[in-house]
Symmetry: C2
Subunit: 345 residues, 2 copies
Amino acid sequence: MAGRRDWTRDTLAAGVRAGDKRALARAISLVENGDALAYDLVRDVYPDTGRAYAVGVTGPPGVGKSSLISALVRHVRARDASVGVISVDPSSPFSHGALLGDRIRLADHFLDPEVFIRSMGTRGHLGGLAEATLQAMLVLDAAGKDLLFLETVGAGQSEVEVIGIADTVLLVLMPGSGDSVQALKAGIMEIPDVIAINKMDHPAAKTMLNEVRSILALDHERAWRPPIVLTEATRAENVPELWEKIDEHRAFLEQEGQLEERRRRNLAGEVFAVASGRTKAHLERAVAEDPELRRLLDAVQRRELDPLSAVREIMEKVFKIPAASLAPAPGTGAGDAHGDRADAA
Amino acid sequence: MAGRRDWTRDTLAAGVRAGDKRALARAISLVENGDALAYDLVRDVYPDTGRAYAVGVTGPPGVGKSSLISALVRHVRARDASVGVISVDPSSPFSHGALLGDRIRLADHFLDPEVFIRSMGTRGHLGGLAEATLQAMLVLDAAGKDLLFLETVGAGQSEVEVIGIADTVLLVLMPGSGDSVQALKAGIMEIPDVIAINKMDHPAAKTMLNEVRSILALDHERAWRPPIVLTEATRAENVPELWEKIDEHRAFLEQEGQLEERRRRNLAGEVFAVASGRTKAHLERAVAEDPELRRLLDAVQRRELDPLSAVREIMEKVFKIPAASLAPAPGTGAGDAHGDRADAA
C-alpha cells in the first residue's frame, strides 16, 4: 500500500475500496480540505456506494451521544458488522480524540481494523457542512462498511441538512433535556425514528420517558411509532434493546419499500443542501472581494439604499439573475379586491 | 384614513409614517405575502428608519418569552415609550392570538394605540424568514416606534439570521433548560447580551443561575459581561431590573461607539442572509420546474452520477456559475509534498 504522500487517484480509490484505514483517513482529509482529488475520488467510487446502512445520532450536547455510539459499535461488532463513525459534533469526545478509558473505551475501536472513527470540523468547509459529511459518508460507504453512524449536535437547519442523509435517525436525550422536550412538543423539532433517554439512573428519567411518550401519542397519523428506550451508555445498559429498535425501524422501511423512497428523498435533499451551501459560499466570496458590492452595503448603512434593493443588485451582479425573476408577485396589494384582509393585530 | 382595500403606495407610506395601526397591519401582511407593494413601501420609508432600538428575545419554547415581553412592554409603556412587537415563534401565545387574561394581559396592549403586536408565520416566505422579519421591523421602525421586540425560538441558523438585526439580544431560560445550558457551555450557542432565568420560584432556579454564571465567567475577553436576572414574568417580578440591564447594554454600546458598528455589521449580515434566502428559493424553483434538473437527481439515485457532479451541473445551469469557479482548490492532494498529514484516525 502506498505511503501517505504517494496516493494517486487510482491507488486512493483502490485503498478506499479495500477499506484501508490510511486511505480512508487520507480521503476524508482531502474531503475536509475541499481538495479536487476528493471530488474525483468520490466520483470514482460512487457506483460502489448505497450498501451501508446509515444511522444518524442527534441530540443536545452532553447527553452521551458518543458513549452511546461507542456502546452500539461494540454491540454490532460482536455481530461482525464493520462500522464507520463520522462525528460533526464539536463538543463530542470523538472530536477531542479523548480516550476516556473504561468509560467509553474508544481505544478498543481505534485498534479494530473493521472500525473507522473520524471527527470533522464544523466550520470552514467550502460547500458547507452538508457537503463535507455527505462526501465522507460516501467514502466510508464505498469502503464496504456495513453500518455508518453520523453524530451531530442540536436541531438547527445546518444539522438537519447533515443528518438528512441518515436512513434511521436516533435522538438522544437525558433527564434535564427540558428544552428538547418542549421543542418536540411545540412541533419545532422533527420527530426522530428512535429515541434514547440516556442516564436512566437519574430519578427524573421515568418522568421524562412518560412526557416524551405522551407527546408522541398525539401523532396518530404516523405509520412508524418511534420507540423510546431508557439507556445507560457507560454501562452499555439496554444497548442491545436500543439496537433492536434501530433494526426494527430498518426492517419496517425495507418491508414497506420505503427505504428506496427515503434514500431518493434524502439524496435529493442533500444535493439541494450542497448546492445551497456552494451558492452561499460563492456569494460570500463575491461580496468580500468586490468593492462595488461593498459600496452597496455602505449605502444601506447610510439609509440611502434599502436592504432589499441592495439584495437585488447583488443578485443581478453575482448570479446574473434579473430582478424580475426575483420580484415578489404583484397584484395582491393595494386596490386588489381579492386582497387578504388586513389583520386587526 | 383610507379603508383596508384602498391603500395606494402613497397613502400606505403616509399611514405607516403616522403609525396608523391599520396601515401597519396591512403593510406587514403585504410583507408576509411577498407583495411587490411591500417592497416599494419599505424602499420609500427606509430613510425614516434607524431610530428604533431593537431588542431580540430568544430562547427555547415554553420558557415564558411572550409573558416576559408582555411585562417589559407594560414597564416601558409606563415610561411613555411606543412599542412594536414581532413574534416569529410558532409556539408563542402571540402567534395563537391567545388572550391569557390576567396572566399575560396582552389585551391591554392590543387596545393601546402606541403598541403594535404582530406574529408572523415561520414558513412560506419567498426570501426566507430573515427577509420577512427584516422588512416588518423596518416598517415598525419607520412608524416611529421607540422600541422593537423581536421574539424568536431556538438556536438554529435561520433563527440566528432573524435575531441578527437586534441591537440587544436577550436569552430567556428557565429551570429545566439543561440543553441550552449545555449548548452555552459547549460554545454551540452564541453568548447573548442579557440573560433572564424565568420562573424564579422554581427550586432549581438558583442552581441554574450559578451554572450559567460559571459558564460566562470562563470568558475573560468580553468587554461586556452579560448580566443574568431571575424573573417571574407572570407577576412582572424583577422586570424593572431586567429592563435596567437591557438599558445598561444600550448605554454601553452607545458610549463605546459600538452601536453604529454593530448596526453596520447587522445590516450587512441581514443583506447577506436575505440574498442567501432568495438564492435558495430561486434554486428550489428551478429544480422543481426543470425536468432536466430532475433527471439529474434520478441519475444520482441510480448511482450513475455522484451528488457533487449533479450540484455542479445544477449550478452551471441555474446560476451560470462555471464549474471552475466552484471547484475545490487543487494541489493540496496526492503527490503534494506540502500536503497535510493524513490523520491517523
